[in-house]
Structure formats: structure tokens, C-alpha cells
């Protein structure tokens, strides 16, 4: 069964969420709610919730980065201080704890931020090529629903979208 894409654009955000809600309840053959992608100009946590659980893993990257930065930072600093054999400074111990804590803290944040951002790029799949059904109006003021479904299910979905006052429906063939 061949699959194709369809993008429906909405101006009314409530209609868009109603459309998703109905789509979810419809149990159409050859269609899965996981294949719906919402494209919007602003954050819509409330509409995203309708799409079902789509977990974000960025926070685990953060945890790893912060722990790695902190522990690795302290180990690196103290062990490199220990290479200054018999070169104590200012009567302080060769490995002074309070100054090392300052640097450990900075490295904890440094790696925390870096690896969080790495996690963001991996999680959001950036950089990526734009989908061929991308429409510039999504970055302006319209909300887009990108649906991937079997060809057989397409007419029903299209019908549903039209019922919810979709401004425009762009199919894969029309491009």
C-alpha cells in the first residue's frame, strides 16, 4: 500500500484542534495518529497534547552533560594541578578545594549547556531538509497539519479537513 502526504492549513486554531481530535477518534483504515505532524508559528503545548504522548529526551542529555562536566572537570583540574610537583603556590595546598569548586561549577554548567543543545539538535532532528509540503504561511500565522496516510484513507481525511474549514489542502500530487 503506497503512502502519501497531505498538508492542511488552518487559520482558526480551535478548528485545527477539533480536526485533530476528530481525526484521532475516527479510526480510519491505513491511518495512524502518530503520522500526524503539527506545524505552527508558535508553541502550542495544548494542541500538541492532543497528538498523544510524544516524549522529549533533552533532559537526559542535560543530566549526562552536567554530571560529566562536574566530575570530569574536577578530575581534570585536580590531576593537572598534581603535575605541578613540588610547586606549591602561596602556601596553599597543591590541590586547593575552594578554587577547584569554582571551576568545577563552571564546567558543570558549560557541559550541561553544550550537551543539552546537542540533545536538542538530535531530538528535533536539526539540521534537516525541509519537507516538500512545507508552506511558508506556517511561519506566518497559519497552523498546518501534515498527515501521512495510505492513499485509500486520503479522501476521508481530506473530507474531514474541509469540514473543519481548512483554508487550503495541499496534496503531494499537487506540487
Amino acid at each position: 500500500m503506497s503512502k502519501s502526504h497531505m498538508l492542511a492549513l488552518f487559520t482558526d486554531f480551535d478548528e485545527a484542534s477539533n480536526a485533530i481530535r476528530e481525526l484521532k477518534a475516527s479510526n480510519l483504515e491505513g491511518f495512524n495518529i502518530k503520522d500526524v505532524t503539527l506545524k505552527s508559528p508558535i508553541e502550542h503545548p495544548e494542541i500538541e497534547e492532543l497528538l498523544g504522548k510524544r516524549p522529549v529526551y533533552v533532559q537526559f542529555f542535560t543530566l549526562f552533560g552536567a554530571i560529566f562536566g562536574g566530575l570530569g572537570g574536577f578530575t581534570f583540574i585536580s590531576s593537572s594541578q598534581a603535575t605541578f610537583l613540588l610547586q606549591p603556590k602561596g602556601g596553599k595546598p597543591v590541590i586547593p578545594i575552594p578554587p577547584d569548586m569554582v571551576l568545577t561549577y563552571e564546567l558543570f554548567i558549560l557541559f550541561g549547556v553544550y550537551i543539552t543543545v546537542l540533545g536538542f539538535f538530535i531530538g528535533a532532528k536539526l539540521p534537516m531538509k525541509r519537507h516538500k509540503l512545507y508552506n511558508a504561511r506556517v511561519s506566518e500565522d497559519q497552523i498546518g497539519i501534515l498527515i501521512k496516510a495510505d492513499d485509500t484513507a486520503m479522501p476521508a481525511i481530506k473530507d474531514l479537513m474541509t469540514r473543519h474549514k481548512a483554508l487550503e489542502i495541499i496534496g503531494e500530487g499537487s506540487k
Binding site: D12, V58, P127, E140, Q142
Partner: protein
């Protein structure tokens, strides 16, 4: 959809329903795009005046630095023991200025203060560029700038490392962390806007923005990851910003110089940093508002809120300043007390008193609503406040060398040479130049967040007027219609 913060907003709206709005809620989203993208095209003439003037000023600084590089630090008219001068003072000034970008973008983000949204982008750019300027001063200050990489912990065959005990190494690490993190934060927050630029640009600009926007499409997956990342990095940035200026304060607080060896320095520095940063935001707010015709977004209520914030921080700073004086005065450290008396009565007395006046008395003008709503007055006041804060940093660094612990230092009077002044002036040129270029190339008002602001505010308004039924008129006005 209505969480606790918005409910609170509802209550606030009900109470001050007659109040002037931060932003027009019926502004069309396409119009937001259009207005902001226009700033990338043709600014007012003043833009080019500022840009050319900044470039010229920067050239002055560069030539001073070339002269100093060739001849030696002696041309700065520093001496033994007066080894630190305007460079370090201005370094603190620029580091300090970077802090309010984080205040607006991270702290107010977490506190859900959405009035920050139209102005936080340029504040963040200010953070990045003032940190770059501060980094330059570290270089300019060094006697052998060509060996600056000795401070970096890089592996080498001699197994020598920087001295990790030194506050200057903490500084270098903290500034590097802060600079790169805030650049990343600025960039991540800008990706959706870069996608808007990409969709509207043509020619080489299109490929430029296409490259930078990384193929952002605004999908739910991207937004969900974006939200978590943005919040996480914001949470990292707040303690980072506090630690950066605390570390700059430890440059002084851990040393033995009288007038520096004070435990209240870190909070004092952080307060001073936020203070000068907020004042700088007001200055740039007024400039950008005029230059790029952002009257619709950088509105008077937002300016007023920023002014109130500045006033509050000014009072915190004043308090900490008085704490410093009184703890020195009533303390047991005779060297510090003598240094304080010297600052108030010695060679630097005029500047010291001016610093206290500009920093603690002038902000009281912000208590008046008429002044807060007067743009020329705000421009002058914000510049005066920053002059005061610059003087404060100079008064921290310089007088203590002329009145140290050891009597030999007491008969040294020292005045910065023209080279020092030239480089300080050049730094302002460098900062303005970068900042103006940024505002020309990148959207300096966050488009998607202004849309969010408009959207949520209209939802809140809808909630106040009719909680159950959708008011069709407002739904149209609320920016959903194109």
C-alpha cells in the same frame, strides 16, 4: 489552557482594566512579520550615523591598541605599583552590562513575565556583544597579549597548566562559558525567527537564512524539544550569570588590597551589573525604537516596566554600596578604612562623589511616572546611570593603588593616558558597531514570541469576558484572523 499564572494575569487585568496595554492585542500576525522584517531592510538615517560613528570610534581604539602593542604598556601611563587602570575597570563595566540580557531572557522567562518578549532579543544580543567587548579588555590589559593562550588549559608536551587557583583563570573559564552559552541561547531562541526570515528572503540572503535556520519547520516535535531546551538553558544561565560576576568580584575580594578585600563584593557586583545592564537596555530600547520604527512593539508601558525594574535594582545597589561603606567604616581593618577615607577625600574624590550621586540619587527620578514616560528624559537618565556605573568600576580599581597597605604607594598619583581613554572609547565603538550590525542582519524583535504574547493575552482577555463561550469578535481581534 488557563494555568495559575494566567489566572493571576486575569485578576491583574480585571484590576487594571483601564491600564494602557503592553502591546496591541488585535495586531495581525502577518503584520508582525512584516514590521520586524522591515528592520532588516531600510532603517532610518540615524542607523548609519550611529554605525559610521561607532566604526570611527572603533578605529581610534584599534590604532591606540596597535601603538600600545608596539611600544609597551608604558604608553597607557600605568606605573608601579599602579598596575591596573581603566582597562580592568571598563572590563568589569562590560561584563556587568551583559547581565541584564540574561535577566530579561532567562529570569523573566521563568517568572512568566511576558512583557519581556518584544525586548529580550536585543537584550540578549547586548549580552553577547558586551561579553565580547569585555573579552577584548582582558587582551588589551595583558603585557604580552601574544601569549594570551597560556591561560587556556591545553595539553602540551611540558605538562604545564594554568594556575587554577587564580581568579583570572576562573574569569577566563566563566567568561568563556557565559559567552558561548549566551550565544547558543540567543541562537536557539532565534531559530524560529530565522525560519521566518528564510521564508521571506530572496537571493543570497535566502541561502544565508536557510543555512542558519537549519530547516526549522515548526513541527510539534521541534517545538516540544525547543521548549524543553530553552527552559533548561535558561535555568543554567541564571546561576551562570550570577557566578560570572561573582567571580569577577572575587578578582578583587580574594586579593589583599584595601578596599577590595570585602566579602560583600560578589552580591554588590551582581547588583551593579544588573543595574548598568538595565540602564543600557533603556538606552538601546529608545534607539532601536526610533531607528527601526518599532513603536508598535517597544511600547511605552514596556519602557515603564523596565524603568521600574531599573529603579528597584538601583535601590538594591545603593543598599549594598552603603553596606560596603558602613562595614568598612565600623570594621577593624584600618587599611580598608583609610582607603575609604582616601576615596572620599583624596585625588579621586570628585569622581567618587559623582559616582554616588549618579548611582544613588539620579535613579530617584525614575519614581515619577511623567519622567518614566518621557523618552528624551529616559535617554539622558539611562546614559547618566551608566556613566555612574562606569565611574563606580573605576573607583573600585584605581584609588586603592594610590592608597595601598604599604606607605610607598601613598605618594603615587596617576592619571590614565590618552591611549587608555582611546581604547575605552574604542570599546564603545566596537560594541555599538556589532550591536547595530546584529540588529540589521537578524530580527531584533522576537516575532514568534510577540505572536505568542498577543495570542495568550487575547486568550486571557477572552477568559475574563466570557469564560465559557467564544466571543467571535474577540476571536477575530485576537490575532487568529490574518
Amino acid at each position: 489552557m488557563i494555568n495559575t499564572f494566567e489566572e493571576r494575569d486575569v485578576a491583574v487585568e480585571k484590576r487594571f482594566i483601564h491600564k494602557e496595554k503592553d502591546i496591541r492585542e488585535d495586531i495581525a500576525w502577518a503584520q508582525i512579520n512584516k514590521d520586524v522584517l522591515k528592520s532588516l531592510e531600510r532603517p532610518r538615517m540615524l542607523f548609519w550615523v550611529i554605525f559610521i560613528a561607532s566604526l570611527a570610534l572603533f578605529m581610534v581604539g584599534v590604532s591606540c591598541e596597535i601603538y600600545q602593542y608596539q611600544t609597551g604598556m608604558g604608553v597607557a601611563n600605568l606605573d608601579n605599583p599602579h598596575v591596573w587602570g581603566l582597562y580592568i575597570g571598563t572590563f568589569i563595566f562590560w561584563i556587568g552590562m551583559s547581565h541584564s540580557g540574561t535577566l530579561l531572557s532567562a529570569i523573566l522567562h521563568i517568572m512568566h513575565a511576558d512583557w519581556r518578549k518584544p525586548i529580550y532579543r536585543f537584550a540578549e544580543a547586548m549580552t553577547t556583544f558586551s561579553l565580547m567587548t569585555a573579552g577584548l579588555f582582558v587582551m588589551v590589559h595583558l603585557g604580552r597579549v601574544w601569549q594570551f593562550y597560556y591561560v587556556v588549559a591545553y595539553p602540551n608536551e611540558r605538562w604545564t597548566w594554568p594556575n587554577f587557583q587564580s581568579p583570572l583563570v576562573w574569569d577566563a573559564t566563566a567568561i568563556f562559558t557565559y559567552l558561548t552559552s549566551s550565544m547558543i541561547f540567543l541562537y536557539i531562541g532565534m531559530i524560529p525567527d530565522l525560519a521566518i526570515c528564510r521564508d521571506n528572503a530572496t537571493g543570497f540572503r535566502k541561502s544565508f537564512y536557510t543555512f542558519l535556520s537549519l530547516g526549522w519547520m515548526g513541527t510539534d516535535r521541534q517545538w516540544a524539544n525547543f521548549r524543553v531546551t530553552y527552559l533548561t538553558v535558561a535555568c543554567f544561565l541564571i546561576p551562570l550569570a550570577v557566578s560570572v560576576h561573582s567571580i569577577v568580584a572575587t578578582d578583587f575580594a580574594v586579593s589583599q588590597q584595601p578596599g577590595w578585600h570585602i566579602t560583600s563584593f560578589p552580591p554588590y557586583f551582581v547588583a551593579g551589573a544588573l543595574y548598568s545592564g538595565c540602564a543600557a537596555i533603556i538606552t538601546l530600547f529608545i534607539v532601536l525604537r526610533y531607528v527601526f520604527r518599532f513603536e508598535e512593539y517597544m511600547t511605552m508601558p514596556i519602557l515603564e516596566k523596565t524603568a521600574k525594574l531599573t529603579f528597584a535594582i538601583a535601590m538594591v545597589w545603593t543598599y549594598l554600596n552603603l553596606v560596603e561603606y558602613s562595614s568598612t567604616w565600623y570594621g577593624d581593618d584600618m587599611y580598608a578604612k583609610q582607603a575609604l577615607i582616601y576615596r572620599a577625600t583624596g585625588d579621586f574624590a570628585p569622581y567618587w562623589w559623582m559616582m554616588n550621586f549618579l548611582g544613588s540619587v539620579v535613579p530617584f527620578t525614575l519614581a515619577f511616572k511623567r519622567i518614566r514616560n518621557n523618552i528624551p528624559a529616559m535617554l539622558v537618565i539611562s546614559i547618566l546611570l551608566n556613566v555612574g556605573m562606569w565611574l563606580e568600576r573605576w573607583m573600585i580599581v584605581s584609588p586603592t593603588f594610590a592608597n595601598g597597605i604599604y606607605p610607598w604607594t601613598w605618594d603615587h598619583d596617576q592619571w590614565p593616558s590618552l591611549v587608555q581613554w582611546g581604547i575605552v572609547a574604542g570599546s564603545f565603538g566596537w560594541f555599538n558597531m556589532l550591536f547595530m550590525l546584529f540588529c540589521k542582519i537578524f530580527p531584533s524583535v522576537s516575532m514568534y514570541e510577540v505572536k505568542e504574547m498577543v495570542y495568550h493575552r487575547s486568550l486571557v482577555r477572552k477568559g475574563t469576558e466570557d469564560a465559557t463561550q467564544i466571543n467571535p469578535e474577540l476571536a477575530v481581534e485576537g490575532g487568529i484572523a490574518s
